[in-house]
C-alpha cells in the first residue's frame, strides 16, 4: 500500500462529510477545490465566447502557417524552376514554369496570388502527376484521417487507463511496469517499430496484412480495411500513447494528494472508486489537453507508418513528392496537415476547458 496520507486528517478536514454512500457535492466551502461534478456544458455563454475567441485566434495562425509554407519554397537552392525540371531542361521550359509558378514577380505579390488561389481551393498543379494538387490531397486525405482517427482512438482508449493504474498507485509495482513500458514506447522510432511489427505480426505470425489498405486479390469492404489498419495504427499510436500516459500519470499523482481525494476517502469510498472515479475525473482536462497535442505527433508518425506499410495516405504521397521534388504537392500536403492540426488543437483546447471542474469557480 503506498503512502496515501493520513486518512484521519481527511476526516477532520471535512466535518460535514456525508455518509459513505452519498456521492453528491460536498458542502460548499469545505474544500478548496471541489471534485468534478460537471460534464460537458457547451451551452454556457462563456463557453461560446471561448470557442469564438479561439476560432478568431486561429485565423492569424493559419495565415502565418500558409506564409511559412509559401516562403519555404524560397529555401530551394538556386532557381526553383531549374531545380524542378532538372539540368537537361530547355530554357523555354524553365521560363514557362517560372511563369506558371509566378516566380518573376515580387515575393509578397506571389504570396498574395498563391493565397488567393489556395483560399479558392487551388493549390497549383502537381509536377509529377500533372493533376491539380487539390485532387491529389482530397484523394489521399481520407485514408490518412482514417489512420489518424484509429491511432487517436488507441491513444484515448489506453492512455487514461494506463495513467490511472500507474498514477493512482504511485510507486507500486504496476506503476513501475507502466513507467518502463512508456519509456520504451516513447523512445522507439516509429519507422523502426513499423518494420518490427511488420516482420513479427505480418511476415512471421501472418496475423495481419503488411501492405496497402485493401486485399488486392479479394477486397472485402470495411472488415478488410480494418484488418489492414491494425499494424499502421499501432505504429502511429505507440509514442503518443506513451506521452499521454506519462503526462496524465504525472497529473494523476498530483491529484491523488489533493484535499478532495482525502475527503472522498474520508467519506468511506472504496479505494477503487476513489482512484477510478474521483481522481480520474479530475485528470480529464489534462488528459484531453495532452491528447489533443498528440494530433501533431500522430501526423508526424503517420508519415512513417504510411511509408512502411504502404498505406495510401497523404504521408506516403508527401514522401513520394519529396523524392520527385514535386514541391506544389509538398506545400499542399503540409498545409493541409497543419490546418487539421490547428483545428484539432482548437477542439481539444475547448474540450479540455469544458471538462475542467474549476472552470466556473
Amino acid at each position: 500500500m503506498p503512502a496515501n496520507g493520513p486518512r484521519g486528517g481527511g476526516g477532520a478536514r471535512s466535518p460535514g462529510a456525508p455518509p459513505p454512500d452519498a456521492t453528491d457535492k460536498p458542502p460548499a466551502g469545505a474544500l478548496s477545490k471541489g471534485p468534478v461534478r460537471s460534464g460537458l456544458r457547451g451551452s454556457d455563454p462563456d463557453m461560446l465566447m471561448l470557442i469564438a475567441k479561439r476560432l478568431l485566434g486561429a485565423i492569424p495562425v493559419l495565415l502565418g502557417v500558409s506564409f511559412v509554407v509559401f516562403v519555404a519554397l524560397q529555401l530551394v537552392p538556386g532557381d526553383v524552376a531549374r531545380f524542378i525540371l532538372g539540368y537537361s531542361a530547355t530554357e523555354e521550359n524553365v521560363q514557362a514554369l517560372r511563369e506558371e509558378l509566378g516566380l518573376n514577380r515580387p515575393i509578397l505579390i506571389q504570396y498574395g496570388i498563391w493565397l488567393g488561389n489556395v483560399l479558392s481551393g487551388d493549390f497549383g498543379r502537381s509536377i509529377a502527376l500533372g493533376v491539380p494538387v487539390t485532387t491529389v490531397i482530397l484523394d489521399k486525405i481520407g485514408a490518412s484521417l482514417l489512420l489518424m482517427a484509429a491511432s487517436l482512438f488507441l491513444v484515448l482508449a489506453f492512455g487514461l487507463g494506463l495513467a490511472a493504474i500507474a498514477g493512482g498507485h504511485h510507486r507500486s509495482k504496476r506503476d513501475r511496469v507502466v513507467v518502463l513500458f512508456t519509456l520504451f514506447c516513447a523512445s522507439m522510432p516509429p519507422f523502426w517499430l513499423g518494420i518490427v511489427l511488420l516482420y513479427v505480426f505480418g511476415l512471421q505470425l501472418r496475423m495481419f496484412p503488411i501492405s496497402g489498405m485493401y486485399d488486392m486479390a479479394n477486397p472485402g469492404g470495411w472488415p478488410d480495411v480494418l484488418h489492414h489498419l491494425v499494424l499502421p495504427a499501432i505504429t502511429t499510436a505507440v509514442s503518443s500513447l506513451a506521452i499521454v500516459t506519462r503526462v496524465t500519470r504525472g497529473r494523476m499523482i498530483d491529484v491523488m494528494t489533493q484535499p478532495y481525494i482525502l475527503a472522498a476517502r474520508a467519506r468511506g469510498l472504496s479505494e477503487r472508486r476513489v482512484v477510478y472515479l474521483e481522481a480520474v475525473r479530475n485528470v480529464l482536462p489534462t488528459y484531453v489537453g495532452i491528447s489533443g497535442l498528440q494530433i501533431g505527433y500522430i501526423f508526424g508518425n503517420a508519415v512513417f507508418s504510411e511509408i512502411v506499410f504502404n498505406w495510401p495516405g497523404i504521408g506516403l504521397q508527401l514522401y513520394q513528392a519529396i523524392i520527385q521534388r514535386d514541391f506544389p504537392v509538398v506545400q499542399g500536403s503540409v498545409l493541409a496537415i497543419a490546418a487539421v492540426f490547428v483545428i484539432g488543437n482548437l477542439i481539444s483546447d475547448v474540450l479540455a476547458k469544458a471538462l475542467d471542474p474549476r472552470r466556473s469557480a
Binding site: V68, F184, S187, F191, L193, F299, V303
Partner: protein, 293 residues
C-alpha cells in the same frame, strides 16, 4: 545495474547536483548507456573491427554470430557492428549539434522578446505560427526544400526547435525580470545590455540548457527519421536511421539488418530521456530536498 551509492572520498563527486544525479538509479543507468555510446563514437577507428564501408559481398546478409561479425552483415556485406560504432558519430551529432545551436540562438531571441514587450509580442506571434506545425512535419518540409544532406538536416532541426527553446527562454526571462535584484540594477542605472547579458544570462541559460537535455532524445529520433526518408545522411554514410532504412528493403530475408540499428537507436533515446529527466529533477529543489537526506 550501475553504481547507486557515491563514494564520498572522490572530490569531483561532491557536487550536490552530480550526487543526486548518480543516486538516481534511472539517471545513472542513462548516463552509463550514453557514456558507452559516446565512447564508441569517439574511439570508433580503434574499436570498430572493420571500416564503415568495408564490404565482403560474399557474406552479405549473414546473420548475427557469423564468424568475425558479431552482429552480422548488411545487404552489401558490410559489418553491422562496425557500421554501428562508426554511425554513432553522426547519430549523436545529429541529435546534439542542432539542440546546442538551437539553444544558443534562442537565448538572445527569447531574452529580447521578454524584455521589450512590443517586440516580444511580435516574436511570440511568429513562434505561435511555428508551433502550429507538427514537429516532424516542419522538419520534413524544411529539409525537403533545402535538399538532402547532413547540414541541411541540422538547419531544419534548429528551425523546428526554435519555438520550443524561445518559449523556455522567454518564460525564464520574464520570471527573472520581476525579481528585486533586477529592479535594483535598473535603479542603479545599469544599462539594459549589461543587465540582460551579464546578470540575467546565467539564470536564463541554465533553464535553456536543462530544457535542451530533455529534448535531445526526440531530436535524435527526428534526425534519424529524416535520414530514413532520404533527407539526412546520404548513403553510403553510416548513421543509425539510414541503416534502418537500408535494412527495410531486405526485411523479408534478413530482419537483423534493420532491427539491430533500430534497437540501438531506441536505447540511445531511452538513455537521453533518463538523463534529461534526471537532470531536470536534480535541479528541482523540491526533488533534491526529498532525495538529499
Amino acid at each position: 545495474m550501475t553504481a547507486v551509492a557515491t563514494p564520498p572520498r572522490r572530490r569531483w563527486l561532491r557536487s550536490p547536483t552530480l550526487r543526486v544525479l548518480l543516486s538516481d538509479r534511472a539517471c545513472a543507468t542513462g548516463l552509463f548507456l550514453l557514456a558507452v555510446i559516446c565512447f564508441a563514437a569517439i574511439f570508433a577507428p580503434w574499436l570498430a573491427p572493420f571500416g564503415p564501408d568495408e564490404a565482403t559481398p560474399m557474406f552479405r546478409l549473414m546473420p548475427p554470430g557469423t564468424e568475425g561479425h558479431l552482429l552480422g552483415l548488411d545487404h552489401q556485406g558490410r559489418d553491422i557492428l562496425s557500421r554501428l560504432i562508426w554511425g554513432a558519430r553522426l547519430t549523436l551529432a545529429a541529435g546534439i549539434i542542432p539542440v546546442a545551436v538551437g539553444a544558443a540562438i534562442s537565448i538572445p531571441i527569447g531574452m529580447i522578446a521578454a524584455w521589450y514587450d512590443s517586440l516580444g509580442a511580435a516574436i511570440l506571434r511568429v513562434m505561435d505560427v511555428l508551433f502550429a506545425f507538427p514537429m516532424a512535419l516542419l522538419a520534413i518540409m524544411v529539409a525537403a526544400f533545402l535538399g538532402p544532406g547532413v547540414e541541411n538536416m541540422m538547419i531544419s532541426l534548429v528551425i523546428v526547435l526554435l519555438p520550443y527553446n524561445v518559449r523556455v527562454v522567454y518564460q525564464a526571462t520574464v520570471e527573472q525580470k520581476s525579481m528585486p535584484y533586477v529592479e535594483a540594477l535598473r535603479a542603479a542605472g545599469t544599462s539594459t545590455p549589461a543587465i540582460l547579458f551579464a546578470e540575467l544570462l546565467p539564470n536564463v541559460a541554465s533553464a535553456a540548457i536543462v530544457y535542451s537535455t530533455t529534448i535531445v532524445g526526440s531530436i535524435v529520433i527526428t534526425a534519424a527519421g529524416l535520414s530514413f526518408l532520404g533527407l539526412g545522411v546520404q548513403p553510403p554514410g553510416a548513421e543509425w536511421g539510414i541503416m534502418v532504412a537500408e535494412g527495410r528493403t531486405v526485411v523479408f530475408v534478413a530482419p537483423h539488418v534493420s532491427a539491430i540499428p533500430g534497437l540501438f537507436l531506441t536505447l540511445l533515446v531511452v538513455a537521453c530521456s533518463l538523463v534529461g529527466d534526471g537532470i531536470r529533477d536534480a535541479l528541482d529543489p523540491r526533488v533534491r530536498a526529498s532525495m538529499g537526506s
